[in-house]
């Protein structure tokens, strides 16, 4: 992991310089043909993943169909806004089964939307990420995820780093946790169904040397996940507000039940 990070530094320094030189860019569209052709941004090789190395706005204008074992899009700049525009990024992995018995067939690597360390402030919205071996969507600190569905991925559905916000989104039938808030953040109005592990997992990050941050999950519904619907881990406070857990491996594990939470029909 550290080796990869160091290897990226010269590239990212060049990207940062380029961004400063070029200034603002118009919204860039992405479709399958552009992905295959490469050069969506400087340094983007032909094929997948599509590398977004310049801050700015990007919009899908078609589905992306991604081969096994690779990723769909990687965010390699700060403050990237990616509008999936109702389209899907689709890998070949298929997950079947219920709760803890869920299994995923396919190559166990590649993420639908990933990032390079430090590429904070991403906004990802309005679409579906399905069928990746590793995870559906991952974003670094200060990310905003809205109206995104992550389904049938071999690992996490949607994972975000410190201080991020996830809203109006769904994670279902993934091979690990549905939503992961790492180092705090907020989830609202979202759904986690039939993920193999926890529906929502909030880790304060403290145990891994990150700045510990509080988390909050509200008005969210978790059902039929293999482990707890709502799980908090760490020493920083995690608040559960107005959530409903139904027929998961457990309801709420850790964190503070602030108000209006329901576990299998019983108010908590």
């Amino acid at each position: 992991m550290n080796t990869s990070t160091f290897r990226l530094r010269p590239t990212l320094a060049a990207i940062a310089l380029l961004a400063i030189t070029c200034g603002a860019q118009a919204q860039t569209t992405i479709d399958q043909n552009k992905a295959l052709a490469g050069s969506v941004t400087p340094g983007d090789s032909p094929g997948f993943p599509v590398t977004l190395s310049v801050p700015g706005a990007y919009k899908l204008t078609g589905n992306l169909v991604v081969p096994a074992g690779t990723g769909g899009i990687v965010i390699a700049a700060r403050n990237v806004t990616l509008d999936l525009n109702g389209f899907s990024i689709v890998g070949p992995v298929v997950c079947t089964g219920a709760g803890k018995a869920l299994t995923c067939a396919g190559v166990k690597q590649g993420g639908g939307i990933g990032f390079y360390t430090g590429m904070s402030g991403a906004t990802i919205r309005n679409g579906t990420v399905r069928g990746f071996g590793f995870y559906g969507v991952a974003a670094d600190q200060g990310a905003t995820i809205n109206n995104v569905t992550a389904t049938s991925n071999g690992g996490y559905g949607i994972a975000v780093n410190g201080g991020s916000t996830v809203s109006n989104s769904m994670a279902n039938d993934n091979g690990d946790v549905g939503f992961l808030l790492f180092s705090g953040g907020v989830i609202t109005n979202s759904r986690a169904h039939n993920n193999k592990s926890y529906g929502i997992f909030v880790d304060d990050g403290e145990s891994q040397g990150h700045a510990g941050m509080a988390g909050e999950v509200r008005d969210t519904y978790a059902s039929r996940n293999g482990d707890a619907g709502f799980k908090a881990y760490g020493i920083y406070p995690v608040s559960w507000i107005g959530n409903t857990a139904s027929t998961n491996g457990d309801c709420f594990s850790g964190g503070k039940l602030v108000r209006n939470n329901v576990c299998d029909g019983v108010a908590n």
């Binding site: 399958q32 090789s45 078609g62 589905n63 389209f87 996490y156 790492f182 108010a267």
Partner: protein, 264 residues
Amino acid sequence: MNSSLTRIVFGAIALIAVSAGSNVLAQATIDQNRAVNGSVTPGDAPGFPITLSQRGSYKLTGNLVVPAATGAILVTASDVSIDLNGFTITGANTCSGYGATVACTNTGSAAGIEAAAGVTDVQVRNGTVEGFEKAGLWLNQRSTVDRVKSRFNDGYAIVVRADSSVGNSWVERNGGGVYSEGGLVFDTIASGNRVSGIVVSVPADGALLRNNVATHNGIYGLFGSANHTTFMDNQANKNTNGNIKRNPNISPLLPGNVCNGGAC
């Protein structure tokens, strides 16, 4: 276990670039002319219903006016997103009356937007669907309905199956309002429907109804017949047979619900 996994996710993520096969569908726009001409997607015959046979994103660029006894859009592929873009889909069915007295002309058995059997993960947002017999929207599992107004349908305005979300919508003067088999229903207004305003029914096992308003519906305002239906911060007023009907043993009525201006 959890620590090691989170460490993996939040390290630098190296991804290998390889080329991929092509299966391209650009965003399709839909208007009356395109509907009449057909071929919006492969297999779409001229006229209605428009068949959406490929996953992807579709956007209305004009109103659709649909002849009697047919639907407007038939979705035959999963992962379809339909942006009504502020436009209206109008069928031939008309309804008069309000609440228990709603009566419709009922000339057929079609839905405005219907997902075929087995088709899931359909999203519909930002517009109006009115004047159909079976339903305004008839969708399956893991559907999302957002900012949709649906009225004058003889059946329910919005039907969704398990793990779906209906939000920020308005259903008025239909046979019924919202019928869900589980998931979220929030920030939605159901008024003057012939039967109930918002229903969560079996086989659902769990749902969250939050911050909805149900008034003057002919049977119940909010009706949870399924296990584990949570009622939170809703308002229900002047519904004929009861404002909130639930199974009291397994569906909690949380503080914040208001019925006829007082406690429920």
